[in-house]
Symmetry: C2
Subunit: 502 residues, 2 copies
């Protein structure tokens, strides 16, 4: 009902049925589930279901204590509803929880079309596998960022699917490059189908840390209309948005709490807000906002897509865990939408603090200044030698650092050794091992290379900038002291490797 | 440890790697997960993980009250462990719960080879989708029972996979027919790959209700060795085994409780007990023994297969819900293995009682006698007219009734109407609708027809016995009074349809 009032006057989704792949088209509704409608008839004796009798479920009550949504509140004591949550579900997930997700989506994202739908799923990993199962054919290409989430790729690579990476800058994926990639497709990739799916982590991207700007979102959306591309917005970090880094700011204070509406206005909008055609599939997750162990999230998509995703759900997973659903529903009911928004705002404050810890630690060991030539990029120097550069994130948990190897003597040697095929990668492996031996663990940039086939693996063949390599820094798990210790160790390794004075 | 002691002297699994399909072969370990081993190094500062900080999980304590395992006990108060269960897992599932499943498997199934492994999954629906993803290629055939579980089929049909049904009798799938199907494959299905996977619900089968005998299991296993077939035993009803139906028995008493070892000896063994090569994949589920809403179960399979299934788990689902894992672990720890076996024995008693309610209700409205020609089959007559026949189940929740339409006047008319392509199906649809209008809901047999392609859909083309059709009766959900009412209504419809005196 909230949806129907709020969406008055908005268009309905255009017909995007031609995007549904052959496997998904071939799915029929599970007949066992169809019969359920007859069970509702008054006085019906149903000998049709195959359900275990609920009196044989051993769980009688579940009581949970939970944090208050904000520091002022008192702890919540939650009695979980168990009726219906212990039995088989219908595939859609619990109706009350779905209604909550619908109301929340309307409040937060205000989609630009009327008939969007919501379907629960057991986490974004599974949600992405279902979306590939909905849209992609074997040997397709998927548009993605220059560096992309490896687990998403690991699902699609065995299907013969390849990545079509599109360059990004400090505002996220470039719309002009996206348009060019699509415009030139037949020339650059003769004999292959032009990509129809864009995979996007558009807030605090993993690994790049970048949040796509509002303007860029509009531009990317327009390109996707022009070339009929479906946008899959995998957005677990959406609510971990926070203000820009300010080196003068005291890190202990962090941003101030504001009201829900002001908080929502402070967030970069999701692609849904531009989506007047229904071509965005949003993968929403509670993993980063409540707990990954819930294995719970939801799709927001046009009703044609959610219907096909429901067919896949029936035969691939069924409903998410009933306990996870019951717990999430009860917590969200207890907190209310405004309470949950307060909780989310608090999370942003915490991750912002951690981002600041890390960049401050960089500043203790490097001379960190804004790059002259690239907007919004900080460069960490040792003396006059630029070591690595990064866009300070305004969301998520990651700093994605581009290491400049040009002035590293070991790299210079490698670069002139004709037996070394990919000197950047050899140097990156060496550095990673040296970091690990000095007891600081980073994630190698190579994990995030989009798979473009066996002929496009080296730095050169991938078309990456020569003499560079990437590492991802995660600031979510360490204390301030650990962060400082880790960065100190890394600086030590770098000084030694670059043969700079101690 | 329990495993290594108990399996001393047993062979290890033979190499069945050639069964792994091309997609599964192409899976690489998730690199993000590989890095985890380095995190364990003492004093390591890890900036590598992408995990949300556990201090931001709002759930502090979860307390559950649960039934005692048997009537004599007192209710259990369980404090769930949350540490580790709210965070991302590694894909394998919690180590303690896996160890419990391992110990339980050894105690119950005593597999005939040494190096079997256990991997958690989020329910048998998902487990089966992963097994198809492990073993089957597009356009393969899967061996199954003459009537098979529709949701299993609904997953494989869109992949172009077809069923190769094998006839069953009161002891389950026939080993001789299985051997013949495989022996004659090239003649009967030229140009296709001989089936390599057997899908089996071998206890209280859905829909047939039949439990495969011990002798038949050995014979089927031997055929599968001869033709190099992998057996997938989807066995949610294993612990819902109970004694044979005895019309003289008072239904209210039910079987007596016995000790755990005697209980285990009373159960038909699973295929694992014959599996000295590692060619059985068992899909174990807590859905029918604890609650479906847990979405929790586990694979038992050879280590080559569980490793590949883990790779699929990493990119398709990740660990099952941490709450479901924590709750199940805590309950099973609290009950102990013997307690759980007592609980399972109690379930068998309950489902046995319900089976008896239904067959007794048949006897109130029909003359139910053993068939002369088919061992173990009961036939329900009205007067001298045989209406339906069934094997009284000794496990599970279902009675699978073969309706004999030969003496139904409406069917006679349909059979002589040359415009009617499939008179049995038309008659079945009519009957189902008449039952539903009389307020008794059965599941139509057509739901369980194995999909053999569009040319094998009619009763005739499927090679089914002429003038017969099936309905499935589920006795799990109704009270004794409801069961009686439902069967009375059905009998009324049958009398009218068959034009028999009231």
């Amino acid at each position: 009902m909230a949806q129907s009032q709020a969406t008055k006057g908005l268009p309905t989704a255009i017909d995007l049925g031609h995007h549904i792949n052959s496997k998904s088209r071939a799915r029929h509704p599970s007949p066992l589930k169809d019969i359920i409608q007859f069970m509702a008839v008054d006085d019906m004796v149903s000998l049709a279901g195959g359900l275990p009798h609920p009196s044989f479920f051993p769980f009688k009550t579940v009581t949970v204590t939970a944090s208050p949504p904000t520091a002022e509140g008192s702890p919540c004591l939650l009695e979980l509803p168990l009726d219906g949550f212990l039995q088989y579900g219908s595939g859609t997930g619990n109706a009350q929880l779905r209604a909550w997700c619908r109301e929340f989506t309307q409040r937060v994202h205000r989609p630009a079309y009327a008939d969007w739908n919501v379907l629960l799923h057991p986490g974004n990993t599974n949600a992405w596998s279902k979306v590939v199962g909905l849209l992609c054919e074997t040997d397709d290409y998927i548009l993605c960022e220059t560096y992309t989430y490896p687990s998403a790729q690991a699902f699609w690579i065995p299907l013969g699917i390849k990545a079509a990476p599109v360059a990004s800058d400090a505002e996220g994926m470039r719309a002009d490059t996206l348009a060019q990639t699509l415009r030139d497709w037949e020339d650059t990739h003769p004999g292959t189908r032009r990509p129809r799916v864009l995979y996007l982590v558009s807030v605090g991207s993993n690994p790049s840390g970048v949040t796509m700007s509002t303007k860029r979102r509009q531009d990317v959306y327009d390109v996707c209309i022009e070339y009929d591309v479906i946008i899959v917005e995998d957005d677990p970090y959406f609510f971990l948005q926070y203000p820009e880094y300010d080196s003068g700011d005291s890190v202990t204070e962090g941003p101030e709490f504001v009201g829900s509406d002001e908080f929502l206005r402070s967030l970069t909008p999701s692609m849904l807000q531009f989506d007047h055609q229904g071509r965005v599939i949003r993968l929403e997750s509670f993993s980063k906002t409540l707990a990954p162990g819930l294995r719970l999230g939801y799709f927001v998509a046009n009703p044609l897509f959610t219907e096909r995703l429901l067919r896949a759900t029936e035969v691939e997973t069924q409903d998410p865990s009933g306990l996870s659903q019951a717990l999430t529903l009860r917590l969200l009911q207890s907190w209310g939408i405004d309470g949950y928004l307060g909780w989310l705002q608090g999370l942003g404050v915490e991750y912002c603090r951690r981002r600041d810890w890390m960049i401050d630690a960089f500043s203790q060991h490097f001379r960190v200044v804004y790059a002259a030539e690239a907007t919004g990029t900080l460069v960490a120097h040792l003396g006059d030698v630029p070591i690595f550069s990064f866009v300070p994130p305004t969301g998520g948990m990651f700093i994605w650092a581009c290491f400049n190897l040009a002035q590293n003597p070991a790299f210079e040697q490698l670069r002139h050794d004709e037996n070394v095929v990919d000197p950047e990668q050899v140097m990156a492996d060496q550095l990673w091992r040296q970091f690990a031996e000095a007891k600081v663990l980073l994630t190698p940039g190579s994990y995030y290379h989009p798979w473009q086939g066996p002929d496009k693996v080296t730095t050169n063949a991938r078309g990456a900038t020569p003499s560079t390599t990437y590492f991802r820094f995660s600031f979510s798990m360490t204390t301030q002291e650990e962060t400082e210790r880790g960065i100190a160790r890394m600086a030590q390794v770098i000084r030694a490797s670059w043969k700079l004075e101690q």
